[in-house]
Amino acid sequence: MFITLIRQWVLTPFVNYRLFHNFIRQDFFAQFTASIAGFLWLFLTPIIHIIIYAFVFSYIFQIRDPEGFGQTTFVIFMMVGYLPWFAFADAISKSTGLLIEKAPLITKVVFPVNIIPIVGTMVPYLTHGIGFGVLLVYLATQGYLSWMWLLLPVVFFLQFLFTMGLVAVLSALCVFLRDLQQLVALLVMTWFFLTPIIYPITLIESESIRSLFLLNPMHSFINLYREIVLLGEFSLINFQIIVPVSLLSYFLGGWLFMKIKNAFGDVL
C-alpha cells in the first residue's frame, strides 16, 4: 500500500514529467491568456488586496504597529503573512472545481488522474510564490536579509504539501458532493479571519484563547514566515506543528484520493 502511494502519488510528477510540465504550463498561462493586463494581474491582485486591508486596518481602525517586530510597519507585517496565505486560499478555493472541470479528460483519456490535484496545487503556489518572492526581494533591500531566510523554502514547501493533501481530498469529495463548492468558499473565508493575518495575535488578550490558535496549522506557518523574515529567528513549536501536520495531510490526502479515484468515471 505504502509503496503504491509513493509510486503513484509522490513520484507521479517525476515519472510523468512531460505531462506534468505541460499541464502546469497550460493551467498557469490559462490564467492570463486573452486578458489585456496579462501577467500584471499576478502582482495587481495582491497589491490591491493589501491596499484595501491596509486602508481599513491602519487608517480606519488605527491598528498599532505589531509588538515585538521592531520597526516593522503594519503593512509589511500583514503582507508577509498575506501572500503565502493567498497561495493556500487560492489552491483550496479552486480545488472543488478541479476534477469537475476536467471531467471530459478523466472519462475519456487514459492518464494518471493523480496528477490533477498536484497540478491544481502547484499552479497557485507558482502564481503567488512569484508575488511573495518580489516582496522578499524588496525586504532584503530594506535590511531584513538573514541566514535564517534559507529556511523559507522549507516552510513554503511544507505549506505546499499541507495544501496538496487538502486539495486532493476536497477535489475528490466534490465529485460526489457538489455542495462542497459553496461550503469550501465559506470555509476559506472563515479560516482567513481565524488566522492572524490582518491582525497581530497580540490583539487577542486572553491567553487561553490564544493557545487555541495552535490548533490552526496556518497560524504556525504564518508565524514562521514572520519570525524568519522579519526577525531572523523562529520558535521551535511552530516547526513541531507543521512538519507532522504537513506530512500527514500530504500522505493521507493522497491515499484517500487514490482510494476513491476509481469511482470518478462512474460519477463524472
Binding site: 514529467y17 505541460n22 472519462t107 468515471g265
Partner: protein
C-alpha cells in the same frame, strides 16, 4: 497469448434518484440505489495484430466497453487483461484549451495521449501538416470550426505509437478527403501488426478495418466472429427491425404446419409433402452463398379431382414480407391442370446467382388457384442464412469489371 483478453466482464451503474441518496447510502449503509446493468458477461480474446470492431445499437454498451478496456471505468466484476501500451481516442480533443493556439495545444494533448516525451517537438510539423490547418495553427482553438478541431485532434492522436489503439466513433467527422487520410493511417497501423479496437456506426469502416467484430445487444454479446459475417447479420437485423417480432412469432407457428385454405373450406385441396432448398448438386442447404445457384424443390400431392393450380416459390423475410417471388402464372409451358386426386408432382425451380448479400430468409413454397390470387396451400422452409461477404447493402449482383486505358 492474446493482446486483450476479457473474461466474464460485468458493469453495473448504480442509479440514485437524488444526489444525496449516494451520501445516505454511505453513511447509513442502507441500499438507496437501483442497479442498471450496462454490460453482462462479456468474454472474448483478441490475438496480437488483429483488430476488433464493436457494433450495436445506441445504448448497447459499446462506449462503456471501450472505457473499461482503456481503464477510465472500472469493471463491477470480471477480468480484463491487456498486454502493452494502450492509447485511447474516446473523444477527440478532450484536453484542448479553447484560449490557446492549436500549436500550444499539441503539447499537452500529445503528452496526455502518451506520445514519448522527446518526440513531440519533433512531430510538431508532421502533426500540423497532417491536420491541414496551415496558418490557423497559431490561432486560438476556440476559433476553429468543428472540422478543424477534430482534424487537429486526430492528427495528434495518430502520432501516438501504442501497441493497442482504441478508437470510438472517431471517423464520423471531417470531410471526405480527411476521412480517407484517417483510414489510410489506420490501415498503416494494421499493417504494422498493431492491435486495434474500433467502435463505429459505419459498417463499411468496421468491415474494412476490422478482422473480428462483436455485436453488442443490450449489454450482451449477441454475436462474435468474422467481421464480414457479424456486420452482415447486424445490418440485416437493422433492416428487419420493424418486422422482427413477426418473424419470431409467426414463422414458428407456420413452420411445418399446413395452413388452412383462406376461403374457410375445411377439406384440403392439396398437400405439400416436403420443401427443400438444394444446391445444383442436389445437397440440401442450410445457408446460402451470395451469387451461387440453388434449386428450390417441393413435392405436391393433389387431394381432390379437377384442381387447377399455379405453383409458386418466394423468399420471405417474415411471414408478411416477401423479398422475391416466382409464380407459374405466366409461364405457358407449365401444366396447370386440371389434376386428378392422387397426382404427385415434384416442382423445382433453379435460381441463378442469388442476389441477397446478407440476412436470413425463409423459402415459401405454395400452390395458388388459376388466377394466382388465392393460395390453396403454403409451406415454409427452415430459416436460411446468407453467408455475408465483403461489401455493404442488402444486395449483390453478378458483375464483371473492366478497366481499359482510354486512348
Amino acid at each position: 497469448m492474446p493482446r486483450i483478453s476479457v473474461a466474464n466482464l460485468n458493469k453495473e451503474f448504480k442509479i440514485y434518484a437524488r444526489p444525496q441518496d449516494r451520501l445516505t447510502e454511505i453513511l447509513l449503509r442502507r441500499k438507496k440505489h437501483q442497479v442498471y446493468h450496462v454490460l453482462s458477461d462479456i468474454s472474448f480474446a483478441l490475438p496480437d495484430g488483429k483488430s476488433l470492431g464493436i457494433i450495436g445499437d445506441n445504448g448497447a454498451g459499446k462506449t462503456t466497453l471501450l472505457k473499461l478496456l482503456v481503464g477510465t471505468l472500472q469493471p463491477t466484476s470480471g477480468d480484463i487483461s491487456i498486454r502493452g501500451q494502450v492509447a485511447a481516442l474516446l473523444e477527440l480533443g478532450a484536453g484542448f484549451h479553447p484560449e490557446f493556439s492549436g500549436r500550444k495545444n499539441i503539447f499537452l494533448n500529445a503528452s496526455l495521449l502518451g506520445v514519448p516525451d522527446d518526440d513531440i517537438a519533433q512531430l510538431e510539423n508532421d502533426i500540423i501538416e497532417f491536420s491541414e490547418l496551415d496558418y490557423f495553427i497559431d490561432r486560438p482553438v476556440k476559433t476553429y470550426s468543428s472540422g478543424m478541431y477534430v482534424r487537429l485532434a486526430f492528427s495528434i492522436a495518430t502520432m501516438v505509437r501504442p501497441d493497442i489503439l482504441v478508437i470510438d466513433e472517431a471517423l464520423s467527422v471531417g470531410d471526405m478527403a480527411f476521412q480517407k487520410k484517417c483510414v489510410q493511417r489506420m490501415n498503416q497501423f494494421r499493417q504494422e501488426q498493431k492491435t486495434m479496437v474500433f467502435c463505429s456506426h459505419s459498417m463499411f469502416h468496421v468491415q474494412e478495418l476490422c478482422d473480428i467484430a462483436i455485436w453488442l445487444d443490450k449489454g450482451r454479446i449477441r454475436e462474435i466472429g468474422d467481421s464480414d459475417k457479424v456486420v452482415g447479420h447486424y445490418e440485416d437485423f437493422c433492416n428487419s427491425k420493424k418486422t422482427y417480432h413477426s418473424i419470431q412469432e409467426d414463422i414458428p407457428a407456420a413452420l411445418g404446419e399446413t395452413q388452412q385454405p383462406k376461403d374457410g373450406n375445411q377439406t384440403q385441396d392439396c398437400k405439400i409433402n416436403y420443401l427443400a432448398v438444394k444446391s445444383l448438386q442436389g445437397e440440401e442447404l442450410t445457408s446460402l452463398i451470395p451469387l451461387s445457384s440453388i434449386v428450390l424443390e417441393m413435392e405436391v400431392e393433389v387431394l381432390v379431382d379437377g384442381m387447377e393450380a399455379n405453383f409458386g416459390f418466394a423468399f420471405m423475410k417474415s411471414a408478411e414480407e416477401p423479398v422475391a417471388s416466382f409464380l407459374t402464372n405466366d409461364i405457358e409451358r407449365i401444366d396447370k391442370g386440371p389434376f386428378n386426386k392422387g397426382d404427385k408432382f415434384i416442382v423445382s425451380l433453379t435460381i441463378e446467382n442469388i442476389a441477397m448479400r446478407v440476412g436470413e430468409f425463409y423459402v415459401l413454397g405454395g400452390l395458388a388457384d388459376k388466377s394466382g390470387l388465392l393460395w390453396y396451400e403454403t409451406k415454409f422452409s427452415k430459416l436460411l442464412s446468407v453467408e455475408a461477404n465483403k461489401g455493404v447493402g442488402p444486395l449483390i449482383m453478378k458483375s464483371d469489371w473492366q478497366v481499359v486505358k482510354s486512348t
